[in-house]
């Protein structure tokens, strides 16, 4: 009885914060001719409702791909179609072909916000609640506390309910979370199906695909490739194939259809990065203009290689020693590798890294909370452009209050809580770090935290109050990206250390959590 009422309170709190944030401004509000992501979603509803499926991804007189053309997989399109049916029922002017372009009204805003809210309520929030309920070896109140902190993560709330991204992150992340749940609880087929749906909703879920693949492969190996393992492998392959076929069914009739969709999903000719993003390549370009120096194909090749090299160690370890705990951490490190080194990364893709970090919040609260704050900070230029300063400040403060209340701060920055125990022991044995430095590691981490937070606060204040110098109009955005990138690189190293020197999921422990 106790558990359900705490969870109910937590869910209601999360929902309240989401709806109050959605009362604020959205992207591109009142900014013709292109408006913003909000208009993109409205336009997709218009296109999917009025045009036949065959024309959705093609350029035509009715469907101008330059004006927010559909560039996400079919499931997004089906979702937009569903929303369009409801919209048409309420007010046909909202999705009328051509004439509804740039339509803005309070009633329409309410409708759009409601679609995000309902999607969140039906997919993401149940997944979070179920995930926290399934956590082992912690008390009911701590489960509720974890759920609250995850639901209060500012980044997702501000992007989905504030900025209004045209693809609902809560749907793709929620489906991915269902996948994680299924696979961790040994419901491999359901989990992989959920993840395939996530992938077919948003192609950026590929960031999470490698750990899923390695974990499931590792499970098959564990069961023995001669017997059950092979059976599982075949079943998984069939499930994946079936899910993809089901989603792409209308587009599999002609080869040209599928190719066009793929071309829209992976715009290879757009280049290494667009706009300012807390990516290694973007930060690098401050010193060395890589985009101009190297030809496009080389850029893609380099980014490909670096990405895969950086995630190789953790994925190999996951394949050889699959465990739900290792899986969660590998999700973090892989997603972070992709974010930092991949091509055409958008700043909002940091949410794909933030979700796995939320999942390990209860294990390393200090570092996870720090990461989540940095991830929200990296979105600052975007949020300021949309006039979301007040909700950002309020939600970040609420998140800090919640984490501070439930996970005592400095106590969580000890060597044991940071889970550096195994690493320190190995460093002591193998002597790759000077002996005298080892006890100072937690203190170093704490100092870095203080420095990071100070710089973030200062940069925020500067961006909000000052105007950038005329010669460098993007100064503050670039600084934000640069600082965030440095923080992310540090986290990449930290999470890789945790995974590689993790002894908890080895043969020593009988229980797998």
């Amino acid at each position: 009885m106790e558990k359900w009422y705490w969870m109910a309170v937590v869910v209601l709190m999360g929902l309240t914060v989401r709806w109050t944030v959605s009362l604020h401004s959205y992207s591109g509000a009142g900014k013709p001719p292109l408006f913003g992501d909000y208009e993109a979603q409205r336009h997709w509803q218009e296109v999917t409702f009025n045009l036949p499926v065959r024309q959705w991804y093609f350029n035509s007189s009715d469907n101008n791909l330059q004006y927010w053309g559909l560039d996400y997989p079919p499931l997004t399109a089906y979702h937009s179609l569903l929303c369009a049916y409801v919209a048409e029922h309420i007010n046909p002017a909202w999705v009328a072909l051509h004439t509804s372009r740039g339509h803005e009204s309070p009633a329409h805003k309410l409708f759009m916000r409601a679609t995000v809210f309902i999607a969140d309520l039906m997919i993401y929030i149940p997944a979070v609640v179920l995930y926290c309920c399934c956590l082992k070896e912690i008390s009911t109140k701590k489960k509720a506390a974890s759920a609250l902190c995850i639901l209060l993560y500012p980044g997702l709330i501000l992007i989905d309910h504030g900025h209004f991204q045209h693809t609902y992150n809560s749907v793709s992340l929620g489906l991915a979370l269902w996948g994680v749940l299924g696979v961790s609880c040994d419901w491999d087929l359901l989990g992989s199906m959920a993840f395939c749906l996530a992938l077919n909703y948003k192609q950026m879920e590929l960031y999470h695909s490698v750990p899923f693949f390695c974990f499931l492969l590792g499970k098959c190996f564990q069961k023995g490739l001669r017997g059950k393992g092979l059976g599982l492998l075949v079943q998984l392959a069939c499930t994946v194939a079936a899910s993809f076929t089901l989603c792409w069914l209308p587009f599999l009739t002609e080869r040209e259809q599928s190719l066009q969709v793929l071309r829209r999903l992976f715009p290879v000719d757009r280049g290494l990065f667009e706009d300012k993003v807390a990516n290694v390549w973007c930060s690098f370009s401050v010193f060395v203009k890589m985009k101009d120096l190297l030809p496009r194909d080389t850029q893609i090749l380099i980014s490909f290689c670096v990405t895969f090299l950086s995630l190789l160690p953790t994925c190999i370890k996951l394949t050889l020693r699959p465990s739900p705990r290792g899986f969660r951490f590998t999700l973090v490190s892989c997603a972070l590798s992709f974010f930092l080194f991949s091509f055409q990364v958008h700043e909002k893709s940091i949410l794909l890294v933030a979700l796995p970090v939320c999942l390990v919040l209860h294990e390393i609260p200090f570092m996870s909370a720090w990461f989540l704050l940095v991830s929200t900070f990296s979105l600052l230029p975007l949020l300021l452009r949309d006039g979301l300063l007040l909700p950002s400040a309020a939600t970040v403060a609420a998140f800090c209050t919640a984490c501070g209340a439930f996970f005592p701060a400095w106590g969580a920055a000890s060597e044991e809580a940071l889970q550096l125990g195994a690493f320190v022991a190995a460093a002591r044995k193998r002597k790759f770090l000077p002996r005298w430095s080892l006890p100072f590691l937690p203190r170093v981490v704490r100092c870095l935290f203080l420095a990071s937070v100070t710089i973030m606060v200062l940069l925020t204040l500067m961006t909000v109050t000052l105007d950038p110098p005329r010669k460098l109009p993007d100064l503050f955005s670039v600084l934000v990206c640069f600082v965030s990138c440095l923080n992310f690189l540090f986290f990449l190293v930290y999470f890789n250390i945790i995974i590689m020197w993790d002894s908890k999921n080895g043969r020593n422990r009988k229980k797998i959590n």
Partner: protein
Amino acid sequence: MAALGTVKGSGSWFSSLALGVTLLKCLLIPTYHSTDFEVHRNWLAITHSLPLSQWYYEATSEWTLDYPPFFAWFEYVLSHVAKYFDQEMLNVHNLNYFNSRTLLFQRFSVIFTDVLFVYAVHECCKCVDGRKASKELTEKPKFILSVLLLWNFGLLIVDHIHFQYNGFLSGLMLLSIARLFQKRHMEGAFFFAVLLHFKHIYVYVAPAYGIYLLRSYCFTASKPDGSVRWNSFSFIRLISLGLIVFLVSALSLGPFLALNQLPQVFSRLFPFKRGLCHAYWAPNFWALYNAVDKVLSIIGPRGFLRCLILCALSSFMFGWHVHEKAILLAILPMSLLSVEKAGDASIFLILTTTGHYSLFPLLFTTPELPIKILLMLLFTIYSISSLMMLFRKEKPLFNWMETFYLLGLAPLEVCCEFVFPFTSWRLKYPFIPLLMTSVYCAVGVTYAWFRLYVSMLTGPPVGKTKKQ
């Protein structure tokens, strides 16, 4: 293994709760606001741009100053901060002046003045009996009381959405109650006198104060069986109380007395043409009668509190066109009683749930619909579950009839807000949802009043067995 900050120390949970609700209030800034927003903007303008002699005569706007002088001074102080946000809002002729800076200033002024309410809640928590407390933080009466007061649904939606300044006024009232609990009677009387000159609606509960102070402070001792010892009357104490009330009133009404404007001030405060005279004095008398009936056995601050709540509820009940927001006058003090006795918890839950539901018609706009439903559910679920948990060792809080009644609020809400607007009756009989809400809630509030009255008549004389 307690999840909530035992490591960081005892005060931190209170700060987290207070900070959390403050952040929620910040998020509510862009929500719908009622005409009260313009009322207060107008009062800022009046007090800032006009001399004192004009304050109660100014009638450019229909929202004339009809609160006592202390509130006018409060608006005056606020106006000096307002001029840094937007000078134009302080112009008396800028009727319905509105922009984002004005909104920010007004909303932040409510949020900021709530700090008095937070302090008052902190003081009230000290007065709550913690004998039965378990080691688990969330099951302590202090914790539950803090949440019930700080996160009170009614205060949140009336103050931070509809727009009013009930937060700091309720804070003053709770502070005076806390002082009386702490046996600092002079301070309690002082705070209440000040409160009266901020908002005169609190005069409804003045009889409770008067009788309690007379009984427990002026009569310095009582006989062993609890009744009054007539020869222990202390004139000095009576005079000092009178002096406090007199000095406060002099500070408030003095300037207007000097300007010969008292009749005008009173005509603004008690607008006879509104027909308030009848309903204003009748519940007062009735409440007085209720209280006097039991005057000799009201012992101890808890008896006083019960009497205060009865006065407030009676005034709400019998002055029927008293605004529904007045239910907060009864709900907030009742929270203090609810964490100590199971019977009071039961009455509190019925009163609170129906009282809060009766506030729903205040927010009739669609964007605010999810907010009011979510916050109502949040508060109701928390209050019922936590009080049931606190009193789980005693008999259940509700019988089947009460449970049924409370559950009936859900279908009522669905009918009024979701079904009715799509029926044909919407045009012919638009008042039906309001009528249904009022009638349904009236049943609950009357029932709570009745049970409270009965508990006061039949309960043992409080105060003798309880130690503060």
